[in-house]
């Protein structure tokens, strides 16, 4: 039933996925939400490098609650992806392999997903306590001043997602 994936991930592996597939992701993923996307956009516009190599990588749209002592991270569920739509096509064109979030995407993002053979996954919105258990390591790697919106490098194990938009552009929300 569940398809196991490892991140970073090859595009050829993503092309096997279809909208509606249940997957579990292990490996390294990066968090970024509104403010981090704006910073990344500004970095690209001024000819600077992004804070991590996005080629073949997965961005998780998430801003966690703070970790208590002994916890890796606090609550850590997905945020609404559409707020990142303005920035997403450019990142996909630069090699971003997949995104994890929740909610609808614009036609521009759909086109960029097809153009690049990328995938959009949804995680269960509002299940932040449950999802936090799949996060084994967490390190802030950029924009620390943004607090919860800083970019974090996560090591995840069996992080559950559903393929919402596959590399052919099929969209589970529209089915």
């Amino acid at each position: 039933m569940e398809i196991k994936l490892t991140s970073p991930i090859e595009k050829s592996r993503l092309s096997e996925l279809r909208a509606g597939d249940m997957v579990s992701i292990s490996g390294t993923i990066y968090t970024a939400r509104d403010a981090a996307h704006k910073r990344m956009e500004e970095a690209l516009s001024s000819g600077k490098d992004l804070p991590f190599d996005i080629k073949g990588n997965i961005i998780y749209y998430m801003g966690p609650s703070p970790a208590r002592e002994g916890q890796v991270i606090g609550s850590a569920g997905p945020t609404t992806a559409s707020r990142m739509d303005k920035y997403t096509p450019k990142l996909l064109d630069l090699g971003l392999a997949a995104m994890i979030g929740k909610g609808k995407r614009t036609p521009e993002v759909h086109e960029a997903i097809i153009r690049n053979g990328a995938v959009y996954f949804a995680a269960i919105g509002g299940a932040g306590a449950l999802l936090s258990k799949c996060i084994k390591e967490c390190e802030v790697i950029a924009y620390e001043d943004l607090g919860t919106e800083a970019i974090r490098k996560l090591r995840v194990e069996d992080f559950p997602c559903i393929v919402v938009i596959d590399s052919t552009g099929e969209d589970l929300y529209l089915k």
Partner: protein, 280 residues
């Protein structure tokens, strides 16, 4: 005249902020449990079960139910025979939010200016609604609001001629537009009447009513039932991935309005519909 120290309000709000973000109310838990038993869609059922599991982990391990621990919305009903002492009420409320969100390891999700967007670092200020009532007590209701669903909320200034059908269309339009973005199954708060801002406040307050309680006005209670059924027939389902559990309740509040108007506000909340009250 009864004296209440504002520091007492600070303590109450601090504790409520922490409690409400870890423990969902019994009415919401029951509604989710019932929905997961009745959902036909296999994926929908799976998601609802995961949400139940999420609630268990949140309570037992002190991890917020959702990482979006919200902007603190506070409704105060202040008895007119109360004399508040020891400082500013507003400052005391914000101090309670600051302490609760800091000491409770809750996310700080508030920026000091809507366009400059610098995080205030302590989740203040709260959004505070005050009402003066009879008596010598203060009722405090705290309802932290996540913005995945808040962003999908709407105000419709309908014409009186659009009537009850117009209201139904407005609610269904907002819900369909929200779809997966608002983390369904949702709770839909509706305010009908008043004016532009009154209907929005009515809608938000409607979200603090238990999901198993109907309006005391019969036609409104019937409208709540009808809309709940219509919303669940949209097929949006848990997580927006299909199924018949799209909303757990529609709660409607009404208020007198102007001869020329029919304002309708639809305040959508996700399945983490948090609210808690206490009386001081």
């Amino acid at each position: 005249m009864r004296e209440i120290k504002v520091s007492e309000i600070t303590d109450k709000i601090k504790n409520m902020c922490i409690d409400v973000n870890l423990n969902l109310s019994d009415d919401m838990r029951s509604a989710l449990k019932e929905a997961s038993q009745e959902e036909d869609s296999e994926l929908g059922k799976h998601i609802l079960k995961q949400l139940e599991k999420n609630l268990e982990i949140a309570s037992s391990e002190n991890i917020p139910i959702c990482q979006d621990t919200g902007m603190a919305v506070i409704f105060l009903e202040i008895g007119q025979d109360v004399h508040l002492t020891g400082g500013s009420l507003e400052a005391a409320i914000n101090e309670g939010v600051r302490q609760g969100y800091t000491e409770g390891y809750l996310r700080k999700s508030v920026v000091s200016d809507p366009l400059i967007r610098k995080n205030t670092g302590d989740n203040t200020p709260a959004v505070i609604h005050e009402k003066i009532v009879d008596g010598d007590k203060i009722k405090i209701t705290l309802a932290p609001k996540g913005f995945g669903s808040e962003n999908m909320s709407r105000v419709f200034m309908l014409k009186p001629a659009e009537g009850i059908e117009g209201v139904k269309n407005a609610v269904l339009t907002a819900v369909k537009d929200a779809g997966p973005n608002a983390c369904p199954p949702m709770v839909v708060g509706v305010g009908i009447g008043g004016d532009f801002e009154k209907c929005a406040i009515l809608a938000k307050l409607a979200l603090t009513r238990k999901v198993n309680e109907s309006s005391e006005i019969q036609y409104v209670a019937e409208l709540e039932e009808e809309l709940k059924e219509k919303i669940n027939n949209t097929g949006i389902g848990p997580g927006g991935l299909g199924g018949k559990t799209t909303c757990l309740a529609v709660n409607i509040n009404t208020y007198p309005t102007h001869i020329a108007g029919l304002p309708v506000a639809v305040n959508i909340c996700c399945h983490v519909n948090r609210h808690i009250s206490c009386i001081v």
